[in-house]
Subunit: 168 residues, 4 copies
């Protein structure tokens, strides 16, 4: 098997499986609200890797990095210790130096073994995030156009979903 | 001295000093974006304590807890290791079972010793957060009116700032 | 496939694959030292799940929980962003209410796709941890004998490795 | 007031006050075991700052950094949400390029307001840590003698406590 089933790209959406451990929870007995931002970043990183544009390449070959400019999270239902969550990531906007993503956290109705099961109608939505990323230079933090290969890979993914392309 | 100067309530605003440690940063050399949610929660907790309504009392005496329903963060400038940040917290909306807060992260222009200096015009804004909290029952997670003493304390703070009160 | 290849139990050792994300690193450009404790806990949790004794069962059916009594970590070489680490977990001591584990963090020489590759001679050791766990009651925190099925599962694993059994 | 009372150096020991927030706890209702490493690092950082040798200076002026080589923690009693902990930090060994510290986590018997109270006999010990630090070059990670001013400051502190000096 060439890839972990914990990460899967299909139909313009990336699915990534997260398991909740004690580190992710708080004394309220639920997943700590900031943990969702960590989960979302893991999912974004694997989505880029699955697209063939790993961010390590962006840093090392181009001196560029994606930084978070804005994040919004709606918390719908609590997640708990040992839950398996699927993070579904889709592009929503794509600019020359910017990328918008929608990231939805779901608890799958059925989870067989530890691999990602296709979302079905009964999946429970636990949280929804909107994330705005900017491509900036590692040295000076100024915005920079992302490499053509990156833009193409993201545009192809976006096309599969009817993403809005912005001119930036 | 009865209180640490790291936390201060005045004119409808609460100021709380945060020092950035390695735990808060990432390999990009800046404060990790999810760390701001942790900082914001520390500041909220101390704001309630300074108002005389510590959340431990809410849990133990009333079986209630504030949970985060929605959070939005705009990242303006990066913070770095050893920076001293001031989190300025103000109520924006107050309902029977809900509380909205604006939390602004600033790097003070002048910081003398380790205590909170009044924000002046030159303070740099690093990030701005809007946080919506709901008061829920610890047992079942359903919404619940906050205790009268809590509502009054928050209303008094809100009055000092012209907060919108919603009927919820 | 019934299980993710990210977790594998064989020959008295459990192997678990970790990917390093920004959340795990610090401004020194390397994995933050406390992150290894989080990685170790993930690996232990999956080791128990793979043994057929998930800790959720321990809590829910028996009112018991494993807590960390002592931990020692030697940091040998730094890990960095995007590194794939394998955590190799082996029991070292087994008592009626206690469990000792050795957990070694390695950077595999060859990593094909995202699945766990058998450790070979060239694997780099990044860190070594020794962890002492106690089985305690969830309510009162006092020590408690672990359930027979748990002890047997751990004893079988230990037998494969020549673990010392202590009488506690 | 020139300094926060949350940090205090006296008689060869540094005391640093930590407040426990939700971010530090887990679903077991107690402080997550890895959080103690974060607390210990905050306390070390403030101890150096109070000694007049802030680590930012070490990095920026000398291109050096302290890294953790070994850590050992004994967990004695659990800490909980809203607890105020005092971290007592003392040097135990001092070499040309190394520093050993003992860091004890206590729950003060009496805590007035939010400032650090002198430890008294009734203080509860919650955890004890032994930390070995190495001074290394930021660029290449090799060991390096710490600057004379640093060594002197640490030696003076160590002398107040009968620390063992090693020749390294």
């Amino acid at each position: 098997m060439s890839r972990s089933l914990a990460s899967m790209l299909a139909e313009g959406r990336h699915r990534y499986l997260i398991r909740v451990y004690y580190e992710d929870t708080d004394a309220g007995g639920i997943v700590y609200h900031a943990s969702y931002l960590r989960f979302a970043e893991r999912a974004r990183t694997e989505a880029l890797r699955d697209l063939g544009v790993p961010h390590a390449e962006l840093v090392e070959q181009h001196g560029l990095i994606f930084v978070v400019r804005r994040v919004k999270v709606d918390y719908v239902r609590p997640a708990r210790i040992d839950d398996a969550l699927v993070v579904v990531t889709q592009p929503t906007t794509l600019g020359a130096a910017s990328l918008g993503l929608r990231q939805v956290f779901q608890r799958p109705h059925v989870l067989q073994g530890a691999h990602v099961v296709q979302g079905v109608a009964q999946d429970e939505v636990l949280a929804r995030a909107e994330v705005s990323l900017a491509c900036v230079r590692v040295d000076g933090n100024g915005p920079a156009r992302m490499p053509a290969r990156w833009h193409e890979a993201l545009a192809a993914l976006a096309a599969a979903e009817g993403t809005t392309r912005s001119k930036e």
